[in-house]
Amino acid sequence: MCKRYFLFLLISLGLCTQAGMRARAQDDNGRILVNVNLVQLNVAVTDSKGRYIPSLNPQDFIVAEDKIPQRIATFEEGNGPTRSLIDVPPGASLTEAASTGSESGQSHRANSEGQSPFGQLTGANVFILFDTSNYMYRGFAFAQDSIADFVRSLEDANKIAFYSYSRDLSRAATLTADRDQVLRGVRSTVAGDDAALYNCLLLTVKDTAHYTGRKVIVVFSNGPDNASLVPPEDVAELAQSTGTIIYMISTQIAHDEPVSTAVFERMSKATGGKAYFAKSWKDEARAFASIRDDLAHLYTLTYYPAANPNRGWRRITVKLAGKDLQKYHIRTRDGYRLLQTAQLASGLSSGPATEADSARPQ
């Protein structure tokens, strides 16, 4: 079916003014067991006025998982070089949650000379998820402008994917460094139909899991969701477990709706991202600028989890060491769950096309 149901819009508006590296082993029944053996944290450190604190060192961070102290393996500030702090255990490979979907198709390993296994990690993979449902209709053109500006403004080190959603997800531009391709995707969107934000965000998180490095989803939405089957809790958990940061930019409608406000604020916080509520297109531009700034100032830490019998949810705490640093605020994901293979594998079958596949008829 082709979408365009503005009649519905009028009615509805009237009614409601890592992630980790993973190794695999077979158990007795031939099923796949998955062990997380590297966790990546993206950490923002800010002062009381929200200004970023630069130039911190690895020893300034104290990381614990279920209160078990962790030893930082690598450290990176912004888009700077990655510093390897410990020897990489034998057999470890930098393959994100889905081992079959790494971007390069290669795993990265530390060599005997102590080179970082994360040489390609600079920059981020940015997935933009744009609400094209009926709810978004009125501000559609301005929203496109804001996104287009954001795409142009991201540093070249970043790769970008552009997806849109209403009731269904549309992968308008798969992850690419080609900004024009992304911009064409942005300008190709069509408005209309129901909003299934959490369904489509789930699929987007799964797509991010195919890639290594810093992964970010920027959701641009009006907020309400009237068509999702999965709850935001499941999406948030998957994002945390795959080390995906979620930023959410919402328009005034979401701010007027307490459910959306709660989800946007809490989900983004749980993943180490932020929520923005924009009253105007200028606010939207400011929100995008803030995200861009955030990406440039994140510290990226990794660690190999110490022995932990907990097979369920693992809570992560990151603190700053030393009295002088206690005045600063830390923002990062607060935990992860050991993922089942199928949760990601099931996404593979409906995952993103390659760049070559993305030249589809519009």
Partner: protein
Amino acid sequence: MNRPLRALNASLVVFVFLCFNADDCFGGTTPTAAPQQTVIIPGPLRSFERMAAISQKVPVEKVLPLFARNVFTQGYENGRPTEFLILVDRYLQQARELQSLADSHGVIHIADCDHSATLLQILGYRLRSGCGQKEVFLMTSDSERAFLTIDSGFPLTELEGDLRKNTPFTYPFPVSRVPVLLHESDWSQLGSDHARRNPNLIDVLVRDRLVARLYWAFAKLDDETRLSLARSPGLSRLLPYGGVLDFYGTQICIRNGHVLVPGGTAAESTWKSLVGASPESSGDFVLHLLEKDNGWLAAYYDAVARVNPTQQAHLTESARLKPLYEAFRSPDPEEHAANAAFRKAPSLLVLFTRVQWDPNGDPHVPGNLAAWRNLPKQKVDSKIIRDWNKRARRWGNQEQLLEAMVAASRVPTDNGPLQIYLTISELDRVRPSERHLSAPTVGLLAAKYPQYGRWYLIFSEFPQLSEESIARFLTVADSINGIPHLALRGNTLGTFQANVGLWQILARQKQIPKAELNASWQKTIEPFAKIASSTQLLDASHQSLGALMVAAGGKRSWSQYDLIELLAGPVQESPNGQRVHAELARRMGAVLEDQQLVSLDTLFALSDGIQQMERGAGGGDKLVPLAEDLHGFEMPQQIFTKNEKVEWAPTIYSSRHAELQIKTDLTKTLKTSASRAQLEAGRSELAPFVRDTLVGLNYAYYEPPGAQVLHNNPLFVRSHDFSGFSIVGAERPWETPELFGIGTPAGGGAYLIGSLTDLPYALAAAEQDFIAPENVQALIWKEVVPDLLVSAMLPRWWNISSNELHAVALYQRSGEEILAASVANEQLRSKALSILSERMTPQRLEQTDSSFRAGSRPVLLPADNFYLASGFREKFPDEDVASFGPASHELESLQHRHSTETSFVRLSQDFGTPHPILAQTYSLELLSVKPFPASGGEDSRLFGESWDSTNLYWARLADEMGYSPVMLNRMVPELTRRMIAKIFATDLEDWSAVQRAMQETGDEFREGKIASLQITTEGSGH
């Protein structure tokens, strides 16, 4: 009733009718149509299609009809234009403005940035900084215009790039010419005064929905009928009846000024009498047909015309046609038949399609008439049903029962007497005559239908089940309904239905021998006959499963692994078979894992261990690790507080079952010296876990391709609400499950309320929107996709031989060869068309004939080709089919050597699709029916159920590319998922969109672009 015609040999009737139909309809009477006229649409066609919500893949001749269709379906609300129509209108204005910028060749040239102001003003954009500056980007200046610009797909990015580089921008912006039906002036003269002032048809259609609807209705007629009606009675006289013609006009067929009525010449006089005009006077006839009784006669005519010739011959008997119509018309003649979003009384077509006839020509009545006279009084608030209740006792013959059923088709219900009749008739149809249902059983089934009717599909799928087995099921179900405790009742419903579901799977996969079906059925259901406590339920589920495992050839001592292995299919010998079998088993295991369900091994070991402790044996410590497994399930990290959930999702409380499980802690009981009562209480806590795992096995088996909820919402299975506790008034313990909690972020996710019957469809409906459409503007087609998914995941291809697979491909290719041979052979063509007429509308049939006349082989659906090859051999056995081409020759040879494997019946059972609404069964079958029209409610599934091409096509691909039959278990779901992502449809009957998507997917597969389905060296099955 015993009239001579009733006793006629059915095949003779068919032959006579089809010869008539074929000769008259396609015997050189193609009308002299006027040269194709066109109308102008400003701007590129693609832009217009985007704005008008038309698939950009439709052929150009479909553009105007679909536009007209969208105008009247989406363009007005309460007589006022909707936003959709307003935007289309604005776009047309903008496009005309842009057109004025284009040169004589229809190309817009902007020399450089300094000359872009006018274009940008029309587009609603401005430059952020002046020309020549560093950052020349476009910004919205007029949001209304900008919306049109982007929504119509103007290449803004390219424009922006050229302005930034200060290079010329060139964009072809031609006027588009699209074919128009008849002449543009024919339609523009019809419009309102305002519309008439503007002779452009596009504007007329935008401004006059009556014209738009008549245009759409006319577009669905074949050429000769359309031209004939345009001449007489003429468009202006037909204008008030556009709705009736749209809903019920597609089967009207006029040839040489003569209406070809259903039933042929023999039925003409009765139709003349009913309509009040002669079929020979086609204009009068059609006009009267449309206006009579507010469109009800047209609705009746349409239903009769859609069924196959055999059914038509029965229905149009002179003594039957009129009384049946009178029964259909009488309930409420004042109501308008076309005054709704969908056509009315869709069940009439189901009845006419499926009604069975006794050898003497009487309508078949399951049981006897008395059983239907004494049907329990229906509580449906309907005059028809009240009349039924009054008149039923006076019925003297079977005709009166049929008339009552025809009248009942006017009642919009899924639970009325007609539905009872249809369902029980299907049960009787599949039973051999010596085992037809007895009157008492019919009475029992009818009486219990409102509660358990949707479960009767098992009895039509397995006619081996005796009447005793049926009755026993109903007794056990009654007993479960009587359990007073809500939670226990819910757990018992779930466990019982899950075990029945597992029996159904194993029986369908032929792992339970036919001879064992009855006994195993009874042993599976019997343990649930008297459940008064959770421990009884626990023991009953164990006993029932044990019996099921033994019946399926398993061991008495079995594990969950064994059960999954059985469900994954029969044991395989070939490497490919073993690989695919293991893959299916692994996928089921993954669902159980992701739903965090406790293994049956753990649960039953705990139960046994605790029972031993009750008898005085020790061993509690050994059971503790097992009891700890119950804690493997964790609720997701909460985003909402409890208060917020109550406030923001007040009507939904789906997680109670899961929350109770989290509180379950048997370790304390096991570690202490608990009393017998305490141990028994502890054991009872295992019952909900067992229920969930058993239900989870059913979910896992029917996992649709691309499923996400099953893997990401660990509450999905646990939240299945059997007893309706989560929403007040939603109790539907034996009915088809429905999704609740959609679009309720604080509700914890969607879940099913209802029973496990029809679970494949419910899961497919739940998971369909996780398939991402490939085309930007496309959405998942909700009315069709669940059926496509069910048809892909429910059949399993473990018992298919290479000969059988090859035969499926050969039938399709042989059909193509018959078509090719028919191009130059009129006699052969007539025969081919006579067969195809049973599956095609007059319009499609005419298009097929036109192809022949143009000297090219028509391209038909895979199922059409299949039926053609099969039907031709059956109806024209004396023809030398082998001479039509190599495939036909090879098929003849293969049939000669392997008649059973290559028979239609066998192929139908293995490559058909399930028809749970149309035929009340999940058995696979190839039903040769015309595509059902789009309907509302549950009947909307009829349209999807009448599509049967995909599995045939995938099988052909598999054969031609050297895949072994077992690989279909992997290929079919994956190819179907990919096909669904490619569907780009516009209207609700857009078969061609499915055909296109299927073809595109097949092409990708042939080209080796689907890596996950690449053949291995062991792949060949030949």
